[in-house]
Symmetry: C2
Subunit: 276 residues, 2 copies
């Protein structure tokens, strides 16, 4: 999916919500556990309930790998289900991969040729040749970790270099030479508040994938205040706050309601910023 198509979806659905399919088998409601593939059953119900309010789904690979081969089967089926039923929705493999060049090329093959997702998250520590192989595909995206939402983001990402530039700023500045705002996005955590201003100074036009709203405590309004540009430029992710909002037989309906709550808040922000 290219940038213009993504922006069109955002305007049509009046939403920039990304639903994180962090479908931990240990947290699923009892009513799906009799299925042959509980994770897939759960995901299908969540997807059907949330799709009207959602422009992107983001399965985090950890929650699938946790059960080995079974988990990979659930993941492949889930991706296919989205593609078959909601082809307008952007799919992000939250994998945080990154390796030496020839090896990253293999990861790219896995995610873009086998699974056919739209985007993959990548860690920047190993530099250009670990990221570039993901950029050689048409119509797909690399989402580079810049400033993450977790406490450990302070350990290295905020380290200032000799010129006073923080590591996450250097990652943003340097990596712009590897791709463009048509095939790269950046992860910036909603918990980082005012740092969004620094981010937007360096990458005014790139889309940002923003985790940390909801369970991690980030504010949607603050994210939009500092991070939204005139094409929206944001995909805001919520995972647990939507998919595990309810644990009864009614889980999917409640997830849909939560997604709609986010959508309404997002529509308000899109109006404030004159995008819809």
């Amino acid at each position: 999916m290219n940038k213009q198509e993504l922006i069109k979806q955002i305007k049509t659905k009046r939403s920039f919500l990304c639903v994180g399919l962090d479908s931990d088998i240990k947290k699923l409601p009892a009513c799906v556990m009799n299925s042959d593939d509980p994770v897939y059953e759960f995901n299908k119900a969540i997807i059907d309930a949330t799709a009207p309010y959602t422009v992107a789904y983001k399965p985090n690979l950890a929650f699938y790998e946790a059960t080995g081969v079974k988990g990979w089967i659930s993941l492949e089926k889930t991706i296919q289900y989205i593609k078959d039923n909601y082809p307008e929705i952007f799919i992000i493999a939250d994998a945080k991969r990154g390796d030496i060049g020839n090896t990253s090329a293999l990861y790219a093959r896995s995610f873009f040729e086998e699974m056919k997702v739209d985007a993959i998250t990548v860690a920047p520590y190993m530099g250009q040749d670990s990221v570039s192989p993901f950029l050689s595909y048409e119509g797909t995206w690399v989402i580079v970790l810049a400033l993450t939402s977790n406490p450990g983001s302070h350990d290295f990402q905020l380290t200032k270099d000799e010129n006073g530039e923080m590591l996450f700023e250097k990652v943003l500045r340097t990596s712009q030479n590897w791709g463009s705002d048509q095939n790269m996005m950046y992860v910036v955590g909603a918990t980082q508040g005012k740092s969004f201003e620094n981010v937007r100074n360096i990458v005014p036009n790139h889309f940002l994938l923003v985790p940390g709203v909801g369970a991690q405590g980030g504010s949607l309004e603050e994210v939009c205040h500092y991070g939204m540009n005139n094409e929206c430029g944001l995909l805001v992710n919520a995972s647990r706050a939507i998919i595990f909002a309810d644990n009864s037989d009614n889980f999917a309906t409640v997830a849909g309601e939560k997604a709609k709550d986010y959508q309404l808040q997002m529509e308000e922000q899109l109006k404030v910023h004159n995008i819809v």
Copy 2:
């Protein structure tokens, strides 16, 4: 496997060779391609031929994920084969994972509870809570990327902070507080030559996993000169230079000979450093 058992293996086999099972299905010899599971057939033959000279195997996950579910099945079977037939050999999942705390915990479950490997490689960009969950298991190891072997290692890892400390040095220094030399190792590329001295100044006692000898051009002698400590403290990895040394029906025999070549060079170094 604990540190003393690993050192004992190194002394017994007079080797600190780690064979990288980067078994790219597109590079396998024709003679295994009629099998139901060519990657597993190839790995079994490589393992049987190289095990006498090897203290560790390191499958890089990228080469298994590249074929999706099939690849994960090959990987799980390969790990089980090593555990059943060569229980004394250390198994490293070269996965370069790392995510927010609750998510890294899921990766840890996958690799340490499901696959039961001895060690996993982890990227440090997201800081302490992305690494710590891997440290809560008994007898397993986290191998943190410090200074990698690829050209992109220069993009961020060598960036000096305000105090003149390079990022990889800060990673080494900071992460020592998260674990100990009994459950953490570091990746330091063989192509980094004299930088090993800096590494050993900061982490004198930790084992280092050293890729980049062989196809990437690093020198074993140089690595040992700067990196070996009085417990050896090195696992030197070779992948393509061993497993793809020959592409005929004779591939496994040639791989065994290459592994033996490395073992003999390593024995020489262990003698020079008075370890055997």
